[in-house]
Symmetry: C3
Subunit: 339 residues, 3 copies
């Protein structure tokens, strides 16, 4: 692709230097080659650029990129992401149902969708236009999947799930497993509470590899539009997540918790059941929320504390031996003693 065409495709960006430069692919400054396109965020990458073999770059206005051709951009990393998609378009399988797939006769697969070998689609399910169901993925009965979704290898979508458009399920992710619900019976044993609800996933959601989202006991577990869920995250039954929220890897959210729009959970964090986490709240890595969190609030630690409190307490935690020494010194001076 010519650099000039690429600049055009990115929304009419300005090119300095040879617009006819032939871009082969994208690369990093360290490993990219003379036919690759890289990017820099600002001035501090001028020195690395000098040592780089990279053939062309996307860079903010005014940043010196040396003799190479450049696409000027106010959002170089965003434009680079888009350029990556244009230069390395995902290959897609042929439309249609692979002869080695199993699609129940009572399912509807759009003729532009692809169902791969050894994938299964249950009775009453509908697969939308352009959606790809990869090999060994399984879709249960009465599932509705929108258009232009990708279900990667081996993911599982249980019966009754509703999935919007452009949703991506990474390999091994599980949508609609039973919620974890029991009642003690008269003998004090756990009697399973039937989980007769479902999962509803909005448009543009991505679910990471081996992540799990459980179906509701009654009603629906809901994941709002644009929310991104990383690998090995657990979302329990009846959780409701707003739009454009982010869950980094290995986060766990317990049942019936409500999470607002644009909430951000860092890795290995969690939330107890039945709490509310307001729009734009932030939970630091390993944070464990057990009470409601106000919109925009930032918390860390378990049980979660306000960000500044946690940082300060954590800093003192590392110096507790010093604190003990100071107390001992005081006790000696005033004649106190341990007892």
């Amino acid at each position: 692709m010519k650099l000039g065409e690429l600049a055009e495709a990115l929304g009419g960006r300005e090119v300095e230097g040879d617009g006819a430069f032939d871009v082969r692919g994208v690369g990093t400054l360290e490993a990219g080659g003379v036919a690759d396109l890289g990017f820099v965020r600002g001035e501090k990458f001028v020195a690395p650029l000098r040592d780089s073999a990279i053939g062309a770059v996307i860079a903010p206005e005014g940043v010196d990129v040396g003799p190479r051709p450049v696409i000027r951009s106010a959002h170089p990393s965003l434009d680079f992401a888009r350029a990556t998609g244009l230069l390395h378009p995902a290959t897609r399988p042929a439309a249609g149902i692979h002869p080695r797939a199993f699609v129940d006769p009572a399912a509807e697969v759009d003729p532009t969708a692809s169902v791969g070998p050894l994938a299964s689609v249950g009775a009453g399910s509908r697969i939308g236009a352009g959606t790809i169901v990869h090999a060994n993925a399984s879709v249960g009965d009465d599932v509705v999947i929108g258009r232009d979704c990708v279900l990667h290898l081996g993911c599982c979508v249980r019966e009754g799930t509703r999935i919007g458009d452009r949703v991506i399920l990474q390999p091994g992710s599980v949508i609609g497993g039973d919620g974890f619900g029991y009642e003690f019976d008269e003998q004090g044993r756990h009697a399973k509470v039937p989980q007769v609800g479902n999962v509803v996933i909005g448009d543009d959601v991505e679910v990471g590899a081996n992540a799990t989202i459980d179906r509701a006991r009654l009603g629906s577990t809901r994941i709002g539009r644009g929310t991104k869920i990383d690998n090995l995250v657990m979302i329990a039954h009846n959780v409701e997540v707003g739009e454009h929220a982010v869950f980094i890897s290995q986060v766990g959210i317990a049942g019936s918790t409500r999470i607002g729009d644009r909430v951000f959970f860092m890795a290995q964090a969690g939330a107890a059941g039945h709490v509310r986490i307001g729009d734009g709240a932030f939970v630091g890595a390993r944070g464990g929320v057990i009470h409601d969190v106000a919109p925009g609030e930032r918390v860390w630690g378990f049980p979660a504390l306000p960000e500044r409190t946690w940082h300060r307490s954590q800093a003192i935690f590392g110096k507790l031996t010093e604190l003990v020494r100071r107390i001992r010194r005081l006790e000696k001076k005033v004649g106190g003693g341990d007892a």
Copy 2:
């Protein structure tokens, strides 16, 4: 289903009001409709009930439910769970081996069991009466599975596993992966220790989506009857778990640890290897057990502390800056100083 019939099916409960009321399904007080059955645990739900459209309820004796018909119950949530199962019976696939399944000629599948499309059952394995193996699930060689089990989409049961009756494996769960065992060889590299044991799972166990239970090095990893394991839990090789224990999501148990009956692990907790955790013990969320825990003991934190100690220390942790201020003030008064 008539309300009166339902009350009868629940064990002969008393109905107040119209026993001929036709119940369509179950619902919550918030979202349920005029043909739905809900439940309340006690007096504090009287106000929400007043605002609810719900058609009928299960409620304890004496609680005012308004004009709607009611099933009186000493265990309303348990009876509601049972009513859910009666009103929304799980659909089950036809008995038999789906033509697109693969069942080894040397396996035995009870004629009342169902093996779904693209599921596999290995040589020497036996699938009991009424058991359902859903699409894309895989059962290795020489596995024995009891009656009325459900193996959901894409779960994996490796060779030699023994599974009791009424066991449920949620999608993507893995039973019988190799334990994580190595010995350093003469060159200081990790030599794999063959894991030649198996996994034995008792009756009425449930294993969550993408949870993993490893096979033993020698002998068996054992999960006792009635134990419930949530999503993404890890049970390592040679662990022995008693009956009716509970493991909430993302718990990890290291090798050879013994866990008694009715032990409860909250979410994201863990236990080191080779420890014993007594009957009825409780490990709080994120608790990390590294020493034995006595029967009935309650612990939190990592390394785990007695519940009360942890709660108090944790409360002080959030106020460590105040503690430092108090020490500084004391030092000023008595002429101490930091050095």
Copy 3:
């Protein structure tokens, strides 16, 4: 197998007692039988040995094992692991592609490899000599897998992955899922950053059940030779792991972090993105690394502290109420007070 033959196969170890003793299998001292082989590490197992039914043992020189025959070894646990492999050789399926597997016509499977029922292998992929792809496993397009690997039930290997020799993927493990990368677009929504790199796994690596290793944004996520990864571990995009590193269960490593040779992560630990962890470093259970760790350094806690600091602070944490009491006593003496 005769005990003498076994001793020979272990590298010519010395036998005391009946070399013609017929060993049936391996066992523990507690559960092993009269035809089984056990092992002891040293003198402290002499008493348990006395009570054991075990027929023969591997033991260090000079340890009294009673009347039973013994293989003398300087590395009894290593030799026992090897003996286990010799006495319980893993059964392997017949070579060849199972008629119910799907192998793309444009894939190459070595004639000595085995592809099981309902497993899939994509176009352009190559499966090396002796490698086993078990039932319901899926290999995407353009994957290269070396010789003598084992891909267990239901594991998923996405397109472009490179896997060395003797690599073991436990059931449900996912290699090559998309890295978790987004850029905010002009509307403040998350735009997916295409993940066009791959995963490269060296020889003798093992990946645990339901563990996930993400593909790189650009270039490769790399797992060095001999590294062992336990169940439910998450390795993010562009991480580079050295040789012979160990990741115990439920560890999470964020993007672009570099981990040296022989680094050891205990269970449920983690590392932030873009940090460097030197050769031979050790991260304790639940440790959370957010800054670089020097070679050989040992850290615990989150944020990670030097091992000794953490242990001391953690010990004081459990006694914070006592610390508060001591401060209060001091305040009373010197007339301080809380305010």
